[in-house]
């Protein structure tokens, strides 16, 4: 390699120190905060132990930002918030101001530019999501599109504190679920085993590692048309799609049979009860771009019931725990089927081993 094309060696600087970018008031009061409250939806007021207040204005973004949008958000930060911003793990941007008088103008500027203020406390915050058709190599749907369609309809819930407690929704574009669990999760659920493109298997896949990836050992090496390939025991296959990433010829995505499912009650916080996993409530929902109205309708229905029936501070899981699953299905009008019965490891723990029945 000639001298001047020799690649540059990286500086392995790792994770940058956040202090250099932190708002000065936060740097000053680091570890010294006393309490907070909610002057209005979308705004937090934190007060330090020395009585110093800081206001935060929380603003939704589309997560995947074009540089125009990002520069606009930066302009707002310069003009109203001392040139510092913070991104939350739900891709909301937060502006901090030391001076209460700046809060209202800041909000106006944000809204003028087409962004939305809200997402604090007992609201529905932005839906956290994943790559989808936009970038991933295995997606069954487009997470960004689902989220945009849904948030358009949940916008009032983002802008207000109408819920019993905070609502964290996630969506994922394949059954791997990079989006994680949530009070409500809208996830891909395949309903048919992969169709194998036998011509490609030989080239594309390391067969033993594909076989090893299947959670139910449904894949066997096989010779098809004289060529090494794979075969799937369709009776065993649970259509999880785990074989697809290591072996793209295991075509799991299907315009018709790749559906959406909705899960509720995934709760990560340790407040009150220990963290809980989400539970399946609705499936077979059409994967219907560009606006996925069927999925949104179900999410809205669930939120409506929760809003009307939940008690203050009850998260989705707390509410359902109190009213019971029979009432959940009754209130939401969702069908209860044999597919709601778990049969994976430890499934027995999910069965009602008692006389506790609601009438």
């Amino acid at each position: 390699m000639s001298e001047n094309t020799k690649p540059r060696s990286p500086t392995e600087s790792g994770c940058p120190d956040g202090f250099q970018y932190m708002h000065p008031l936060m740097r000053k009061n680091y570890g010294n905060w006393d309490h907070h409250d909610h002057p209005r939806p979308g705004v937090l007021k934190h007060v330090s132990k020395d009585g110093e207040p800081i206001w935060t204005v929380k603003c939704a973004t589309q997560r995947i930002l074009d540089t125009f949008s990002l520069r606009t958000l930066c302009d707002i930060g310069d003009n109203f918030a001392d040139g510092h911003v913070h991104f939350t793990m739900r891709s909301n941007i937060e502006y901090m101001v030391a001076d209460e008088a700046k809060v209202q103008p800041l909000i106006e500027e944000i809204e003028k530019n087409g962004f939305i203020v809200g997402g604090t406390a007992a609201s529905v915050s932005s839906i956290s999501h994943t790559q989808g058709w936009l970038h991933c190599d295995i997606p069954g749907t487009d997470a960004s599109g689902v989220v945009k369609s849904m948030m358009d309809e949940l916008i009032d819930e983002f802008k207000n504190h109408n819920m019993p407690n905070r609502v964290h929704i996630t969506t994922s574009c394949c059954q791997i679920n990079c989006g994680g669990q949530g009070d409500i999760a809208i996830n891909v659920q395949h309903t048919k085993p992969p169709k194998i493109d036998h011509d490609l298997v030989g080239n594309a896949c390391e067969r033993p590692s594909v076989v090893a990836r299947c959670p139910v050992a449904a894949i066997r090496p096989a010779v098809v048309n004289g060529k090494p390939s794979l075969e799937v025991d369709e009776k065993k296959c649970i259509c999880c799609g785990a074989c697809f990433p290591p072996c793209p010829p295991m075509q799991i995505n299907d315009a018709e049979h790749t559906k959406l499912a909705i899960w509720v009650g995934g709760n990560h916080s340790n407040a009150r009860s220990k963290p809980t996993f989400q539970k399946l409530v609705a499936a077979g929902i059409p994967n219907n771009p560009p606006r996925w109205p069927e999925a949104t309708a179900i999410v809205k229905k669930i939120l409506k019931c929760y809003k009307e029936d939940g008690r203050p501070w009850e998260r989705m899981n707390d509410w359902i725990e109190r009213i019971g699953w029979p009432a959940f299905f009754e209130q939401t009008g969702l069908p209860f089927t044999k597919f709601h019965l778990d049969n994976w490891r430890g499934a027995r723990n999910s069965l009602n081993a008692s006389n506790h029945v609601r009438f």
Binding site: K279, G284, L341, A353, H356
Partner: protein, 414 residues
């Protein structure tokens, strides 16, 4: 009598205030008029002392039954019969008790008389499956003893892969919590399966237990393949005057700490005027508040049973509790009772055909999955069967729409 075995270790079990089984054995050895009984007791004491010394048991099984039956006797042959001769055959006769374990003293004496003719004089009231266990009889006398008591109304219980003796609580006979006619349930079920009790031909054992309410005084959910528990589905009865009386007696704080706060579903509110409000939709009939305030609170009128299937102990996949398969079933008319018996038949039939050898219902359900089990016995799913819906996405959903349709149709029909 032959040599009297020394029992220094067992003698220690005669000390202390609790009734001593060893003293009982010695009474049979020393005071009984029948020499056969004296010698058997002596021999038994000797062997038991030997076990205490060596910390080992010395019985082995075998095959003994009465004419016409394949089960009901637990055969025991001594491995140390050379030394302890008189108890060398020491079988147990498992006799079905009356539903609810009621006896007249007359009948008990009659049973004593028969037993003293043929057996050791030792009787257990009752074994953990509920049988009267006549412990200690030789092979020959087994038949004679059975013939005698069978004549005046007693029959054998189960042993081996068969329907076992049932159990039911005191219930309606003396308990205000009772929501069921335990006696009738017990008798109808057991006596429908008499053939399956006496002739072991199932994959493994099958037990019925009946408790009149959720207090489950028979440990039915944990110990039986089919647990039937009384419950109600209309509103709990609240006698507000008695609520007030109770508060006056115990204090408001006591009621808050011990009643309302302990309700598992927060379904109770103690109002400022000392009345109690029950959120009957959220009450899960756990029985706690009724237990504490049994004068003020009572089950509703629309009584029935909840049925849990598949309870059993550890072998071989770990302890299993029975799980709700029938959230509510009315038991009023003749047809209701018949359909209860048919339901038990359906389960036993399916299991008889599909259970592996030595596999209990609960284990079979674990193996084939509850959904398939419900399908097989023709029971529709109901959210009362679960603590919560599935947490795993690993499931085939090809038939989702059809199943959802079923639910909507059932809802419409209801």
């Amino acid at each position: 009598m032959a040599e009297q075995f020394k029992t220094p270790m067992l003698d220690e079990l005669e000390k202390g205030p609790w009734p001593s089984f060893i003293s009982g054995f010695k009474r049979l050895r020393d005071d009984h008029p029948d020499k056969r009984i004296n010698e058997t007791a002596n021999s038994l004491l000797g062997q038991l002392e030997h076990s205490y010394e060596t910390r080992k048991g010395y019985w082995k099984g075998g095959t003994v039954s009465v004419f016409g039956y394949g089960s009901g006797i637990i055969p025991r042959f001594s491995e140390v019969a050379d030394t302890f001769v008189a108890s060398k055959e020491f079988h147990t006769v498992r006799v079905q008790p009356p539903a609810g374990n009621h006896y007249t003293t007359d009948m008990l004496r009659t049973l004593c008389d028969s037993w003293e003719k043929y057996g050791s004089g030792l009787i257990t009231f009752h074994g953990q499956t509920g049988n009267i266990m006549f412990i200690g009889v030789d092979t020959e006398n087994t038949q004679k003893f059975f013939d005698e008591i069978n004549e005046y109304g007693w029959d054998l219980g189960g042993a081996g892969p068969c329907v076992r003796t049932g159990m039911s609580c005191m219930g309606a006979a003396r308990c205000e919590m009772s929501c069921a006619d335990e006696q009738q349930i017990h008798l109808r079920l057991m006596n429908n399966f008499t053939d399956d009790v006496h002739r072991p031909a199932l994959p493994y054992k099958f037990k019925f237990k009946v408790s009149g309410c959720g207090n489950d005084c028979q440990n039915a959910i944990e110990r039986s393949d089919m647990a039937i528990l009384g419950t109600w589905r209309d509103d709990m009865k609240v006698n507000q005057t008695e609520v007030k009386n109770y508060i006056n007696k115990k204090s408001r704080q006591y009621v808050i700490d011990n009643v309302t706060t302990r309700c598992p579903t927060n379904a109770l509110t103690l109002n400022d005027d000392d009345t109690l409000t029950v959120d009957n939709k959220n009450c899960v009939r756990c029985m706690h508040c009724l237990n504490v305030m049994n004068k003020a609170l009572s089950p509703g009128d629309d009584k029935g049973v909840t049925i849990c299937i598949g309870g059993k102990r550890t072998l071989k996949i770990g302890d299993l509790m029975g799980t709700v398969v029938i959230p509510f079933k009315k038991l009023e008319t003749e047809e209701d009772y018949e359909s209860l018996v048919e339901f038990a038949e359906d389960i036993i039939d399916f299991w008889a055909e599909n259970g592996l050898e030595h596999e209990r219902t609960g284990e079979m359900i674990e193996r084939i999955g509850i959904a398939n089990f419900l399908d097989a016995i023709g029971v529709e799913v109901d959210p009362n069967m679960i603590n919560h819906p599935r947490q795993s996405s690993y499931v085939r959903l090809d038939e989702w729409d059809a199943e959802a349709q079923k639910w909507f149709e059932r809802k419409k029909a209801a």
